[in-house]
Symmetry: C2
């Protein structure tokens, strides 16, 4: 166990943004993993922030976020896509799951067209919905809930 350990991950599909909406295109090999997903209202979409898979972004450990420019924050205290492992995660509202064709339509997602997908996890309130969550005072005007359609670009 040391810092040079490396784990390997592979894309399971790609994000497609079109005039008709946003969809997750899952590679054929992984399509059986979608079974029953249509019974959930939301899915956590894990994507690879490929534009930040470089030395500069992966060694940026602190930032002044756009929403709080006077606060120097560690990247673990933000959702910045530049971080040591550029794994991003967006909770999305599910519109449609087509298991046979590997298409998952979502309302909104804050990732660019062509972004690699690395995992999907159904949203379970018992795991993911925190009743008494608080955030720093400088974010106190932010919504207490995810917007109905989710977060887009």
């Amino acid at each position: 166990m040391n810092e040079s350990d490396t784990y390997r991950i592979h894309p399971i599909g790609y994000i497609r943004r079109t005039d008709q909406g946003n969809q997750l295109e899952i590679m054929e090999a992984y399509q059986p993993a979608l079974k029953q997903l249509e019974h959930f209202s939301h899915v956590m979409v894990f994507w690879w922030a490929d534009k930040h898979d470089n030395e500069k972004s992966r060694t940026t450990l602190q930032t002044q976020p756009p929403y709080a420019a006077d606060k120097l924050c560690g990247v673990f205290a933000t959702r910045a896509e530049y971080r040591p492992n550029p794994i991003a995660m967006t909770t999305c509202k599910l519109l449609e799951v087509d298991e046979a064709n590997g298409i998952v339509k979502v309302a909104e997602i804050d990732a660019f067209d062509g972004t690699p997908l690395i995992d999907l996890k159904a949203y379970f309130p018992v795991c993911d919905r925190v009743k008494d969550a608080h955030i720093p005072g400088w974010l106190s005007d932010w919504s207490e809930w995810m917007p109905e359609e989710g977060l887009g670009l």
Copy 2:
């Protein structure tokens, strides 16, 4: 963009379970990324399910979950640790953040001692808390909220 693409991730620290509690030990190189995290009540802990980083687990696409043994589910519709990319994520209640020493104490976490950590993200209700979430009927007796102390082993 094809199935053989590989992305590389590295541990940022390890989970330690002791009689005194559960803590995340962050490697020295990544400790500055913890700055300001103490102002949040919860953190999403991304860990590498190292016991499932093998061919069998990574090609298991469907499962009969212990809580619904008569339902064949795709792994994307579950939180199983066996999945194409064995990335697991647990939302944890923060107890203490010691940036200088790289120690983050959490109430509960459902990962074994020694498990590699790959990312931390502060829990933002605007991103992560869904007001109108629903789950399959066969899970209807599950809590609508994460337990106060979180999910343990």
